[in-house]
């Protein structure tokens, strides 16, 4: 049950042109920085990326966009990225915008082995076009399919060699749902420990969902909106 790999380069082995990846994080919070750097270095392209956001110009998935490695983004919010907007408006990049809860729950469904979910989000809007609508108890719901991703790449705070993961604060976000949803799940962690060092009561992602794990290095953890108050 030892799932440890040497680092990001080994962790992303097998990710090939044209594959579908899930990338955890919300904004720039909880991004798998090491794996993104390795993907940029690898030059793999024509990727479909499922991620709530698309990073900023020079951080996160923005780095992969700059290298033109992404064919399609599936996201809920993609502001804050000029290069993204340029590629979108020029038609170089395909984008599917879906509600944030739908995005999260389609990941969840994959991790729970359910083929589809029903959600009211998007009823009566362009998101509903072409989708099956079902009425339950007098209210309309859209049928949304579970995602299928070749790889899910997540970032956790602590992990053990068996793949059990603990996230820190709001960096849990999409990481915990995507960790469950990949055919292969890669976890990079800030601190890798031996089995027994994590209290099982406080494990967020059971190791069964994780296939490869390594301790990342040099986390920048960039802040998107630094908001503070002054001490009186």
């Amino acid at each position: 049950m030892n799932k440890v790999v040497s680092g990001a380069d080994e962790a992303i082995r097998g990710i090939a042109d044209g594959m579908t990846l899930m990338l955890g994080g919300f904004g720039l919070c909880g991004l798998p920085e090491n794996c993104i750097a390795a993907l940029v270095k690898s030059g793999v392209k024509e990727l479909t990326c499922i991620s709530n956001n698309a990073g900023v110009d020079d951080f996160g998935i923005g780095l992969m966009l700059k290298q033109r490695q992404v064919k399609k983004m599936i996201s809920s919010y993609v502001g804050e990225n000029a290069e993204f907007e340029r590629q979108l408006l020029s038609g170089e990049l395909e984008v599917e915008l879906i509600p944030q809860g739908t995005l999260a729950t389609r990941c969840m469904a994959a991790g729970y082995g359910m083929p589809a979910i029903f959600t009211p989000a998007g009823i009566g809007t362009e998101v509903a076009i072409g989708k099956e609508v079902r009425n339950f108890n007098g209210k309309d719901y859209l049928m949304e399919l579970a995602f299928e991703a070749d790889f899910a790449i997540v970032k956790a705070w602590k992990g053990d060699t068996m793949g059990n993961l603990i996230y820190r604060n709001t960096a849990r976000n999409f990481n915990a749902v995507m960790a469950m949803a990949g055919k292969v799940t890669i976890a990079e962690v800030e601190e890798l420990v031996e089995p027994g060092e994590l209290d099982p009561n406080f494990v967020h992602t059971p190791g069964i969902y994780v296939h490869r794990i390594f301790e990342g290095t040099g986390y920048e953890k960039r802040i998107e909106q630094r908001t503070v108050r002054k001490k009186d």
Partner: protein
């Protein structure tokens, strides 16, 4: 006429003790500043936090602790963290008592448009579609007219919709209005110094006025 802070202050009066509240980006975020300290209110941030506190003190920012607007924030005692699926689970299951968000347009039957301007703005809907589709109590905070001087309270939305038949109340710089279940904006209160006439002129959708309309207390 109210400024943004005034709109936020008026909306804060809609919050009740014991509420779980989701605040959207923009004016709604300001509402947090006006919740009376005597009230027990828990703020939900849909990236996965209940118990959002104020911005951190300078030097205490934590990149792992942000709100849905990607701002650095703090967590109050009694906070809880969860993943994005559970976050929208509690929204869909109507555990969140009040949702306050901004809008570009609201129609007289409660439709809302706030995520896209075709050809201009393609940032995405984020969590807005999930929130408006499920929340039972939705208050919109917005300007009554857009920058071109056109009413944002319309018979029908012209922009791509975020949700349908969902907005219950609107607070603008001019007025407080209810969206009636059968359609129409019912004028409840005027902003200080604003006449009913001015509100009529700024409202394109069906406006319902019954009796004297009081000036709002904020």
């Amino acid at each position: 006429m109210l400024d943004k802070q005034g709109i936020a202050k008026r909306i804060a009066r809609e919050i009740k003790d014991g509420y779980y509240v989701n605040l959207g980006i923009g004016i709604p975020t300001l509402v947090a500043n006006y919740i009376p300290e005597t009230m027990d209110v828990v703020l939900q941030s849909e990236n996965g936090l209940l118990g959002m506190g104020p911005f951190p003190f300078e030097g205490e920012e934590d990149p792992d602790t942000i709100n849905a607007g990607k701002q650095t924030i703090t967590m109050l005692p009694g906070s809880s963290i969860f993943d994005s699926a559970m976050s929208f689970g509690m929204i869909r299951a109507k555990k969140v008592n009040l949702t306050i968000l901004g809008a570009m347009e609201v129609s007289e039957n409660g439709d809302i448009a706030n995520w896209k301007i075709p050809g201009k703005m393609v940032k995405g809907m984020g969590g807005a579609m999930d929130l408006v589709a499920s929340a039972e109590n939705i208050i919109v905070a917005m300007q009554h007219v857009n920058k071109a001087g056109e009413s944002k309270l319309l018979p029908e939305c012209t922009l791509p919709l975020t949700g349908i038949n969902c907005v219950k109340k609107i607070v603008t710089e001019l007025a407080v209005l209810d969206v009636l279940p059968g359609g129409g904006f019912k004028l409840l209160e005027r902003a200080p110094g604003i006449s009913v006439e001015e509100i009529i002129n700024a409202t394109a959708g069906k406006l319902i006025i019954e009796g004297d309309v009081p000036e709002m207390v904020i």
